[in-house]
Symmetry: C2
Subunit: 439 residues, 2 copies
């Protein structure tokens, strides 16, 4: 993952030892242009914003050759510098992927407008008419890894929610991102929206991202998208409010009373359906009296899952199932791969204690037929999503019916769990009177 | 104001030049005890939490002599060190003020529980039952000035919303705060709730506050309460999410069509009813064709308001009305006193441009009978509250019907405008299934 982002240590060195730089002036000027554009965007109708999204999709297909040529330059340079095949794949665009991006923009256009919802409203005893209405944040910034699809994705989400956006993508795909930015800006101009609604600070390299982090007042919210290192760097260095997303050290607890067949199915789904994403399970805790341990681990091993187990699980393993001995590193690790840590516990309390120690607060699940236990698990586990008797893979904006997904927030402020378009808005209190004064 | 808080520069020096300290260990241990207490509090019923609030009120009256004796020690020391009479007044408790604090706690007990509200919920096509439910934040920390009433106020708000709280008050009233903390903890023990639900780091002085700011993960949200300097220090130095409250450089624009009598009443109310609070007006902009300028300024001058006016207003002043010439400092200043900056503009657009340049995003109002103008003002002014034809003094949790008020948020994330108890909660997604897996 570290190949995909610019070094966190370098960001921190910048933060600790900075003087006002010309780059700061230029990035602040970009932010000020974004602010001006955001004012037009905030008043744009849904129909107008949707036209822009569809125009970006169309322009993406029209300029496909140019985009793919730019991507080929980035890929060639990355290959030369020894980038792994897996990372090269995430950096690559092709005709099929571009078609998918255009289709996703059309899907976004089909969603309702998150702006203008009356969240609360009433007439006060003195006759004041009060409404709390959803409005765009204003200027959103995103710092993300070398994944060109995120450029289109974030720009689309920001536009749909009426926000201007400033992008800082991984330098390894700078040429691709520049081509995509031109596509977006051309499309915005076609429909008569300000091109400065989508801008990039990629030209300023690492320092561009560092300035965004200290642009409090100019940037309303900063969203880091990517791996742990990127997110922690932004969280630690930003004075702009951050929405932290995506770290998921997800647990499943199989209680004594859980039906074995269902436990097998849920574990297979939670671990193997898509192991590289944040809602995949990373630690399994099994009650010592559960009959599910051997069937579940057998099924997982057959599906190619590498097991990292504590001593009690090790001694319960049937012949032919291999496992390594787990230590604290395993309990702490978000593998995002076909690996699973497995521990044995003697009670619900022991399971909850383990989860409290190691969770990232993303998603935890209990498999149980004991109502008292499921109620306690739901009440006492402090995570964005707590699931009873279902796969952890359901923690997802699409699955939850939120339409588009901005990310999965693991913080408690503003947004928690899957974030949809509504979470890219704030509110404004609008008060209408006829001369009222306070008594 | 700077006498009330510990120096911002000193906080920043600490942040820039720190090594792990024993104080850090101790404050982190306090935070961990707060976390344990928060788990009990999160499951406490409304009736139980309300018993605690009433017990604190009763204990406050029972231990009044001890509290007042501690306060006398603080006040004597502050007087000796030359603290101004106004600040001494804000630091002082007496029997009447203690009775008011107890009454406020009873008022809080009468409010509905913000915890347990189902915010959204549906059954998904696959049969999963989904609920998003309000839950406490967990551990809240507050950093505030030398005002003993805030100690009781914040503790009450935190308890009612099911949160544990860590307090850091101004050192000048450390003895008073310690006595109040003992009152609160005694009351918690009486009703069987953990005393560690309310703790203080005052014993660690400035460093205690500095550690709270870097206790990300241990502290869920940090709320600075006080003047601009305190708030900016916390915002700039905290890696814990902050809710920024209270700065109000509030504007009123009198449009050409505003009725004169109503404009006079609204300006008098907005400026003179309580000039020391954040929702008082600080800048008045008057349309050059409005007949209201002279009557409004005459009424304000008669009410003792000192006017700071631009050159065009100066030349329009009638004989006998005094004013000083305003400069950019006046447009930027939140006087919080009987001072008002006054400028003349030739259009709604010019008024909006002025507001955009100088606003802190708290509250702005337009007085107008022109529907097109009021609609544009409401849409284009980006503040937490936008008011049409009423006093700016209405931006207030109590006036808005939110019950208790935590503060007025001037940021866009999580809470914007008057914050009630609901804004001290987050949400949890709870998912119930019968074995569903993702396809």
């Amino acid at each position: 993952m570290t190949d995909l982002i610019d070094s966190a240590a370098a960001y921190e060195a910048d933060a600790g030892n900075r003087e006002p730089q010309p780059v700061e002036d230029e990035v602040f000027a970009i932010a000020d242009r974004a602010r001006a554009a955001s004012r037009k965007l905030a008043r744009a109708t849904r129909a107008w914003k949707d036209r822009a999204l569809l125009a970006i999709g169309a322009e993406l297909l029209a300029q496909q050759d140019r985009v793919l040529a730019a991507n080929a330059v980035d890929i060639a340079a990355a290959r030369e510098s020894g980038t792994s095949a897996a990372l090269l794949d995430r950096m690559s665009l092709n005709a099929e992927r571009i078609a998918k991006l255009a289709a996703a923009l059309a899907g976004l256009a089909a969603l309702p407008d998150p702006v203008g919802t009356v969240v609360r409203g009433q007439t006060l005893p003195n006759g004041l008419r009060l409404r709390q209405v959803s409005v765009p944040m204003g200027v959103v910034a995103a710092i993300y890894e070398a994944r060109p699809n995120v450029t289109i994705d974030i720009a689309g989400l920001a536009l749909k929610s009426g926000n201007a956006v400033i992008l800082r993508g991984g330098s390894a795909v700078a040429q691709t991102n520049l081509a995509l930015l031109n596509v977006i800006r051309d499309a915005l101009e076609q429909v008569g929206l300000p091109a400065d609604a989508v801008q990039s600070v990629d030209a300023y390299g690492r320092e561009g991202g560092a300035v965004l982090m200290r642009a409090r007042g100019r940037v309303d919210v900063l969203i880091p998208r990517g791996g742990r290192e990127l997110i922690q760097t932004v969280v630690n260095n930003s004075s702009v409010p951050v929405i932290e997303t995506g770290e998921g050290n997800v647990h499943i607890f199989i209680d004594e009373s859980a039906p074995v067949g269902s436990a097998v199915e849920i574990l297979l789904n939670s671990k193997t359906q898509r192991p590289s994403v944040c809602n995949t399970v990373e630690t399994l805790l099994v009650h010592s009296a559960s009959p599910a341990l051997v069937p579940v681990l057998t099924a997982l091993a057959e599906a190619g899952v590498r097991l990292h187990v504590d001593a009690r699980v090790m001694s319960a393993l049937p012949a032919g199932i291999e496992a390594s001995l787990a230590d604290d590193t395993d309990w702490a690790t978000e593998y995002m791969d076909l690996d699973l840590a497995v521990g044995m516990v003697d009670s619900l309390d022991e399971a909850i204690r383990h989860i409290r120690r190691w969770t990232t607060g993303h998603t935890e699940a209990i498999l149980s037929n004991d109502l008292g236990h499921t109620e306690r698990f739901v009440a006492e586990v402090d995570s964005a999503a707590v699931i009873v008797n279902a796969s952890t893979r359901f923690t997802d904006g699409g699955e939850f019916g939120l339409g588009a997904e901005v990310g999965i927030s693991t913080q408690k402020l503003h947004a928690r769990g899957p974030m949809g378009l509504a979470e890219l808005t704030t509110t404004k209190w609008i008060v209408h009177g006829e001369g009222q004064v306070r008594g």
